[in-house]
Amino acid sequence: MTVSDKSPKSIGNEEAKTFIISGNYAAAYAAKMARIEVVAAYPITPSTDCVEKVSEFVEDGVMGAELIKVESEHSVAGALIGASSTGARTFSSTSAHGLLYMAELVWWAALARLPVVMSIVNRELAPAWSIWAQTQDSMSLRDSGIIQYYCKNAQEVFDTLLMAYKVSEHEHVYMPSLVCQDAYILSHTNAQVDMPAQKDVDDFIGTYNPKHFILDPKNPVTHSNLSYPQHYRQKRFNIMESTHRAKQIIKDVCADYKKRFGRFHGDLVDTYGIDKKTKHIIVSHSSIAEEIELSVDMLKKKGYDAGLIRIRVLRPFPDEELRELCKNIETIHFIERAPSYGYKGIIAIDTMAALFESENRPKAFHHIEGLSGMDVTAEYAADLIEKDLETLK
């Protein structure tokens, strides 16, 4: 249901089809197939291709969305907040400074409970200017309540965007989502992306029917007016409850997606090579994690019982899943792109806090690698782990 009653007329493929496209295009196709109603965009490298493709779809008449051209990223988020408040399904894509420029309104979208979904191309922050991959841009927004997914390849970007709408628009969630991919490594690298038929996507994703609130001229309300301290506790705890509930909802949506389309990239976490014998777990994220799958194979060949956990969803954080996966291991090795300056890697901080509540607290090794898109090869990562383990001998 939309207030405008304008039925979105996006045209997807009638049959399932395989494309060879970039991560940016994968996101644009997902937006089209999700029948987005409002897109607002301001270009920034390396996410520009995505909104360029979306505007091409709109121009060609194959996507029924309203495309709002604005003067900055701050206004992008403002436009999406307004549109989402009227019950429209919304989309945009941005990166690095663009995302931080809209940071104030990312918080607004989250605290206003609006299921805006954006494709984020993770890029290193300036100074000095860089255009390559680093995940601090989105990870630094982790406390806002926004749901964050980190993808390892273009196929996962496509699938996760569709799933993100389903999760964000769930009546117990109503929170925005960021679906993140690494700059260039995914955003500009062509890879295989399988897309389902449009009617199957329609069946899966449904329409957005907000039950919590809607801006409607026929029934005027003031949304988020001045409120007194005694009202905050209940409303803020309601956000805590929703974001905690989102964990199970993400798992259910991923399972449903697998049943319908045969693809599963993990839910809150993705694992590789973990079994009962696993003693050494590497924790990583994004495209680095896909490379580290090869490191796990190398380490196993050398006789190490290694395995990999890829943090797929940073918020809500998969604490229980990590405790379960790590309950019998000896060492845990973090390889991540994003530090929290003054402490450790962002994923390490959260993971260590989760394991503090566990009976088993493995010895931890911290590695910040791949800053500004530096290549982290499988050999290099395997070598890091071997050196970690040698220090214990």
Partner: protein, 108 residues
Amino acid sequence: MTKSNDDFKVETWNSKPTKGAAGKTGLWRTFRPIIDDDVCTRCEICALYCPEPCITLNPDDPSHEKGRMVIEYEYCKGCGICANECPKHCIEMVKETEFLVEEEEEDK
């Protein structure tokens, strides 16, 4: 799929217009608008501009053929916009302390 099989609901801040939604704003006032009824033409410009809005025309007042402008002091916050907009300059903003002296004298 997760069904809504419990009564959890997402809550947002939605308010509908109601009298005095922000409390008794009259308590904020340091200057009180006083209309000089003899000069006032009952043009209602002040009523149009009052942000609260707490000036209205009482059409039944016999003081003038159109009635009389009435200010609801419980909610008038003393912003002075009415006095500024009045084309006749017949609204005077008077310090609340002056009324305090009057009221104290009345009490004696």
